[in-house]
C-alpha cells in the first residue's frame, strides 16, 4: 500500500500560494463575508446609532422594559407580513448576501434582526431629537 502523500501547507491554505487560478477560492475573505452582508449592514446600523444613546442621552437601550413593550407588537406584525410576502413571492433574498440561516416559517434570520434593529434606530433618533429640542428650548 502506498502512503498518502503529505498535505503541503499551500494545498491546505490556497491563499498562500501566489499563482494561477482566477476567481474566488475557499479561504478568500471576500467570499466568506459576502454571505454576511445583510447582517453586517444591520450591525452597522446598531453601531452608527449607538452614540445617540451615550452622547445624546437618548436612553433607549437603558430602558429595556419600555423598549420591549414598544418593539414586540411591530415585530410580530411585520414578521407575519414578511412570512406571507416571502411565501407569496413579493420579495426574495440574494443567496450571495445572506447566511441562509432560517427561522421557522422560512424566515431568514436577517429579516428578524431587521425588525429588531431598525425600530431601535428609529427610537434612538426620536429620543435624541427630543433631547436636542428640549435642550434648545429650555
Amino acid at each position: 500500500m502506498a502512503e498518502a502523500p503529505p498535505i503541503r501547507p499551500c494545498e491546505r491554505y490556497p491563499r498562500c500560494a501566489p499563482y494561477t487560478h482566477s476567481g474566488p477560492r475557499y479561504g478568500d475573505v471576500s467570499v466568506d463575508l459576502d454571505r454576511f452582508q445583510y447582517l453586517l449592514v444591520m450591525g452597522a446600523c446598531v453601531a452608527i446609532t449607538l452614540p445617540l444613546e451615550f452622547l445624546f442621552g437618548a436612553r433607549v437601550w437603558r430602558r429595556p422594559r419600555r423598549l420591549v413593550a414598544a418593539l414586540a407588537v411591530p415585530l410580530a406584525i411585520f414578521v407575519v407580513w414578511d412570512v406571507i410576502a416571502i411565501a407569496r413571492d413579493h420579495w426574495s433574498f440574494n443567496p450571495e448576501y445572506v447566511t441562509g440561516w432560517k427561522l421557522p416559517l422560512d424566515l431568514p434570520v436577517e429579516e428578524f434582526v431587521f425588525f429588531v434593529v431598525i425600530p431601535i434606530c428609529g427610537l434612538l433618533t426620536f429620543e435624541a431629537v427630543r433631547r436636542v429640542l428640549a435642550h434648545h428650548t429650555r
Partner: protein, 119 residues
C-alpha cells in the same frame, strides 16, 4: 401589486390606530417629524444598499410592486413600509412611557419639547 396594496393599507392602519385609539399626539410634535426626516434620510442609504440593482440583497417581484424605484432602486413601497414600522414603534414607545405615571408622562409625553430633563 400586492405589496403596493399592503404597504398603503399599513400606513392607513397605523395612522388610524394613532388618531382613533392610542392618541399619543406624536403627529403634532416637531420631535416626531424631525426624527422621521432623519430616519428617511438614513433609510435611503440602508434600504438603497439592500435594493440597489447592481448588487441587490433583496429582490422584488416586479408583478407585486408598482415598479416605481427611487433613489438607489428602492421600491417606493419600501418607504410606506418603513413609515408604518417606525411610526407604530414610536407610538407604542410613547404609550409605554405615558403609562408609567405622571413623572414619566411629563418627561416622555408627546410634548416633544416638554420638560424632559433630568432623567
Amino acid at each position: 401589486m400586492e405589496y403596493t396594496i399592503a404597504s398603503i393599507v399599513a400606513v392607513v392602519v397605523v395612522v388610524a390606530v394613532e388618531v382613533l385609539w392610542l392618541r399619543t399626539g406624536i403627529f403634532a410634535t416637531a420631535t416626531y417629524w424631525i426624527a422621521y426626516g432623519i430616519v428617511v434620510f438614513f433609510q435611503i442609504l440602508v434600504d438603497g444598499w439592500l435594493t440597489k440593482l447592481s448588487a441587490p440583497i433583496v429582490l422584488y417581484n416586479p408583478d407585486e410592486f408598482s415598479g416605481w424605484r427611487v433613489f438607489f432602486d428602492s421600491p417606493v413601497e419600501d418607504f410606506l413600509f418603513g413609515f408604518a414600522l417606525i411610526t407604530l414603534t414610536i407610538m407604542l414607545w410613547e404609550r409605554a412611557g405615558q403609562r408609567r405615571g405622571t413623572a414619566a408622562s411629563a418627561g416622555s409625553g408627546a410634548g416633544g419639547t416638554g420638560p424632559t430633563l433630568p432623567r
